[in-house]
Symmetry: C2
Subunit: 311 residues, 2 copies
């Protein structure tokens, strides 16, 4: 079983409007509501690929009830959220019909109290023992300590379960001392966290701070993976138009699968780029396009940057 | 008791953001959730003025439960909604911190079926018998006939209860044949419904189609009231900056009060302008500023346009 953690789960609401015009009133055309948050999207991708996946995190209130209800309808996905007193957050994405562009409003989330956090860590310690790998994704809700992910990484390590971490800012930096197995920032998050614009230099900095391996996603620029043994890079063979929101989550899903299977890093990178591209081709985060996935994984070249160095 | 009807009740969500930038992601600062819809705002104003007020309409699902819960906390307000199977709609207003401007997204609302509409009209027939006046405000949810307000006006007439109607487009035009006592379009709605830019000509057109009296609101341009006996006009003595959203609802509250009390039309118009201005001065629809209200009602001049005509 792969365990995905979403501490700040959300109900993702998508509004279709003819055209977004600031300072005016809009009649919303289509409305979609769906459980969201990075870890939830990772779980959807894994469940869609037939993996046994469990979703945990914190949810509460009427919005949290909608999140749980939506996830219970996903085949192959087990929902094991821990309840909190506050109402879960909502995100609103306004998609403009004229240009297809998205404007996003993210609520911060309800306050989480110390007893709720203790209840979660207890539940997590049980779940992680059954997991082959655990993903820790997204922002922290208000009230949690900024080293929340560090604590969860340590609990996972004690259970012998490898971790994939996808977060940014202080929660990322404060987790590194717990030595997560894979950290996946995107290029902007990496630059913000390390002050280094060069992805290779930034990845080495995160490794120096405690990350075992670092995978940096750069959208159409592809992936850079820096591990203790290899430095690999893969650029998508074609540029896809579409929705980039779920690409990072699909990448994390591929990393978790690879880690669970003990796959070779060049295969992991190939799968991660192909699955990310397949997510870009779908309008909703958590979905992947099977044809794009097959095309990318069969045509993609993964370069070994160490091999390219002059000796 | 004054009865207010909100067939398309909503949960009004307000997001405070630093600055609205289309095609980007926003961290939402403040979040406010509150029961909304025009008739709900009218009821809040009336309850705030110590009136005995009952709110009815259609609500359903988890969003409808939040609407009911919020209204039950308002002193002096009785909640008598009729349940529907679908989830009530939400509106999202994004208020930009840099200029204070609001961008609004209105969901259309859940589909209402014929049995639900029958259940509502039955409940309405009971409630309207206890009412001194009834207000019918806002858009119709999907599934209701466009003459829904006409039917309710007829039921009210049979019970001897006068009606104030505040809607637009087809629901407005299709209600006129039932002879509502007061119709309150704003200037833009009146022009759209009648094709006449001149408010006096538009008001006479609505009267010719069946409205007994017409009150046209023109924001800072004030109010024009055309009744079988008088034609009155009042312009606010000062221009207020603020939130215009609740002004129309405060105006309807004043019209309902005046109709219930059998007040003189010049007093009704004075109260309506003062209460509208007092609503503009408050950031949330349904609230009024007591100081602005007092200042406007004591300094406002109501002009009799018939008296101004040359004989």
């Amino acid at each position: 079983m792969i365990l995905t953690v979403t501490l700040n789960a959300a109900l993702d609401v998508t509004y279709g409007v003819d055209s977004l015009r600031p300072r005016t009133s809009h009649q919303v055309g289509t409305v979609h509501r769906r459980a969201g948050g990075k870890g939830v999207n990772v779980a959807r991708v894994l469940a869609g690929r037939g993996r046994d996946v469990t979703v945990t995190g914190l949810v509460g209130g009427p919005t949290g009830a909608l999140v749980r209800e939506d996830l219970r309808a996903v085949p192959g996905l087990r929902e094991a959220f821990v309840p909190v007193a506050g109402d879960s957050r909502q995100t609103v994405t306004v998609v403009s019909g004229d240009d297809g562009d998205a404007t996003v409003f993210n609520e911060r989330g309800a306050q989480v109290g110390p007893p709720e956090w203790r209840a979660f860590t207890g539940r997590f310690a049980e779940l992680v023992r059954e997991a082959s790998v655990v993903t820790l994704c997204g922002s922290l809700p208000p009230g949690l300590p900024s080293d929340a992910y560090a604590r969860l990484v340590r609990v996972a390590s004690e259970a012998g379960t490898p971790t994939v971490l996808d977060t940014s800012g202080a929660p990322l930096l404060d987790a590194l001392c717990a030595r997560p197995d894979v950290v996946k920032p995107n290029a902007a998050e990496l630059a913000a966290a390390t002050g280094r614009e060069d992805a290779g230099a930034g990845a080495e900095r995160l490794r120096a701070l405690g990350a075992r391996s670092v995978v940096v996603s750069s959208g159409p620029g592809g992936l850079l993976a820096v591990t203790p043994d290899v430095r690999l890079c893969a650029v998508p063979p074609e540029r896809l138009a579409g929705n980039p929101t779920g690409a990072g989550d699909a990448c994390v899903a591929a990393l978790a699968e690879g880690l669970a299977a003990g796959a070779d890093w060049s295969d992991v990178v190939r799968e991660a780029v192909a699955l990310s591209a397949a997510a870009v081709a779908c309008p909703v985060a958590g979905d992947v396009d099977a044809a794009v996935y097959e095309r990318f994984r069969t045509t993609l070249t993964v370069e070994d940057l160490h091999a390219l160095q002059p000796h």
